[in-house]
């Protein structure tokens, strides 16, 4: 199966985001590199706004992800509540 990934800077803002992604995607693998973290997942990866908000204790707009985003792969589907990365094969 094809792998999708999301890479984020490692800092205080992304800590709750990374935790949320890891919890919502039990099949994901976390690779830490200097100053960044790359999360790989087979087929599909979901980023949920509610899970991030729970950890942050405030409202979170998924577009805020862009501030600390490094790279990603896969076809993207995004609405107010979640962002999905997936390959269609």
């Amino acid at each position: 199966m094809s792998t999708v990934f999301i890479a984020l800077q490692t800092n205080e803002e992304t800590r709750p985001i990374i935790e949320a992604i890891v919890e919502d995607n039990p099949h994901a693998r976390v690779n830490e590199a200097p100053a960044m973290v790359k999360i790989d997942a087979d087929g599909r990866l979901v980023v949920k706004r509610s899970s991030i908000e729970e950890r942050l204790g405030r409202d979170f707009d998924l577009q805020e992800l862009h501030i600390n985003l490094i790279s990603l792969s896969g076809n993207i589907e995004e609405d107010e509540d979640q962002m999905i990365l997936a390959w269609k094969n």
């Binding site: 094809s2 792998t3 999708v4 990934f5 890479a7 800077q9 590199a33 200097p34 100053a35 960044m36 577009q63 805020e64 862009h66 501030i67 600390n68 985003l69 490094i70 790279s71 990603l72 792969s73 896969g74 076809n75 993207i76 589907e77 995004e78 609405d79 107010e80 390959w87 269609k88 094969n89």
Partner: protein, 517 residues
């Protein structure tokens, strides 16, 4: 108006509709083809521009808000780094040469990307891609400015930074990245966006930014890490634009497939050749390595690119043809490049060195099938020669590839001991190439590539000496004259790192920072 209406917050999709498509209008007193004169001639057929989707649905108001936040974060770090003399915390002063290579080779491409996306944004009749290209055009200008700004701090202390813009236009190895982008920006709007948006941004850019920036972090260069990640945070949007472009074009008309496939083949190869510089930077120039070029290629191209091309197979797209050649070259690319630069470092605006024993062990471990067999013996030999006072500087000029402009140092697919030469005749002239791929690119558009400004040819034609130089004068030294024209100071900006002013200054300043002298 005194009526109070409760404001309903627009959803992401509605907001995107209102702030992009609804801002567009159909012209009535000018013809569409007069307003958009460049969308037809490449043969790409688009029937419905409204089928374009931006999955992030980013609108200009949100764009400004998030970009402003990125800038604030970035400048806080850059200022702190400069105030704190952060440059003295890098692993060792050899590292600074990667920043020189970046500023001279990559940053000017950011500016060209700014121009290119402004141009294609204007050329496309659809409001969706137009807004996305506008944002990318602004991003690229930001990348150029922040890079120049951040790196200017190094120019206060180290050599090899003082005339980067001129070097990009003049210096031989920098004609590789320069000609790559000039090639893209002189293509039509669809080819440009496939070349840069898809082949470069989506397929290859991870190989440029992620290892380089992660490498900067690993080597204590917080300034480079900050501008690198700040630029990279725009990259996810650029990559998405690149992927959407491909899908959109292919869904519009089946006749678009062969045109797009040819562009993907061409631009993956063109981009890969530019990344030769990144390969050697990763394997030789970072004192503390993050991963090898080969590993980066396997993760970001073979694994991720593989997934991408399997996904695009539903449109009939296949893996670029060059992937096989590249798979063979991955064991050799960085070594062959560094050997060449070690030879020609009299004519470079950065320093080179021989890898030390620790570094050679790392290279053997990362390249078990090639390093000890083909490359370690060369370094051993050169080290021996240098110790005897015979440091070898190559002063004859190499043959360049007419397409990618890299000197012909790559080897035959399947035989790493034999240099690969290809040639073709066109209108009574002979043209030389580094590979079958570059030859094929030339043969498809010879009228474009015969115009290439090849540094070696230009030097031999006498076009790269300061004004008033007399090449027939007795004792004329062509290398000296070329360096003068480049504004590279011989003995200061070039040659070995060992014994350089950079090395001495860094050692002295670091000592001052840690002792009471």
């Amino acid at each position: 108006m005194d009526m109070q209406v409760a404001k309903k917050k627009l959803g992401l999709k509605e907001k995107y509709q209102v702030m992009t498509r609804d801002l567009d209008w159909t012209p009535t007193y000018q013809k569409m083809e007069d307003i958009y004169p460049y969308v037809q001639y490449e043969g790409i057929k688009i029937h419905d521009w409204d089928r374009w989707e931006d999955p992030f649905r980013l609108t200009m108001d949100a764009y400004w808000k998030y970009q402003a936040e990125k800038e604030k974060k970035l400048y806080a770090i850059i200022d702190a780094y400069a105030q704190n003399n952060g440059h003295l915390n890098v692993t060792d002063a050899r590292y600074i040469n990667t920043v020189k290579l970046f500023l001279t080779g990559v940053s000017p491409l950011e500016y060209m990307a700014h121009r290119g996306f402004a141009h294609v944004g204007r050329a496309f009749p659809g409001p969706g891609p137009r807004v996305a290209c506008l944002m990318q055009s602004l991003d690229e200008m930001r990348h150029f400015q922040t890079q120049v700004h951040a790196i200017s701090n190094y120019n206060k202390y180290y050599n090899g930074f003082h005339d980067f813009r001129k070097w990009h236009d003049r210096v031989w190895y920098l004609s590789v990245p320069k000609s790559f982008f000039d090639d893209a920006i002189t293509a039509g709007p669809f080819e440009f966006i496939v070349a840069i948006g898809f082949s470069f941004e989506y397929v290859l850019t991870n190989l440029l930014f992620v290892p380089f920036v992660s490498g900067a972090a690993y080597n204590g260069d917080m300034g480079t890490m900050a501008y690198g990640f700040s630029a990279q945070s725009d990259e996810a949007r650029h990559m998405t634009l690149g992927l959407e472009v491909i899908k959109f074009i292919l869904e519009q008309d089946p006749a678009n497939l062969p045109i797009v496939q040819r562009w993907i083949d061409k631009w993956t190869w063109r981009g890969y050749r530019v990344l030769t510089l990144v390969a050697m930077m990763m394997d030789y120039m970072l004192p503390k390595r993050t991963m090898s070029w080969k590993e980066a290629w396997e993760i970001y191209f073979e694994e991720n690119g593989g997934a991408l091309f399997r996904d695009l197979a539903r449109y009939g797209i296949r893996m670029p043809k060059c992937a096989e050649t590249i798979a063979f070259e991955k064991d050799h690319l960085s070594h062959q490049a560094w050997c060449t630069f070690y030879n020609y470092t009299a004519a470079t605006a950065f320093h080179t060195w021989l890898p030390n024993e620790d570094e050679m062990q790392w290279l053997s471990a990362k390249y078990p099938d090639s390093f000890d067999k083909y490359y370690r013996p060369r370094f051993d030999f050169w080290r021996e020669q240098a110790a005897k006072g015979n440091r070898f500087y190559n002063t004859t000029l190499p043959m360049l590839c007419q397409t990618c402009q890299v000197p012909l140092f790559f080897t035959e697919p399947g035989d790493p001991t034999k240099i690969c030469y290809r040639e073709t005749d066109y209108k009574g002239m002979k043209y030389h190439f580094c590979s079958d791929h570059c030859k094929e690119i030339f043969e498809h558009e010879p009228e474009k590539y015969v115009q290439a400004w090849l540094p070696v040819h230009q030097i031999y034609q006498g076009n790269c000496f300061p004004e008033g130089t007399d090449p027939t004068a007795e004792g004329f030294d062509p290398l000296k004259a070329v360096l003068q024209w480049y504004n590279i100071i011989h003995g200061r900006d070039n040659l070995d790192f060992e014994g350089s002013e950079d090395q001495r200054n860094f050692a002295a300043w670091r000592a001052q920072a840690t002792r009471n002298v």
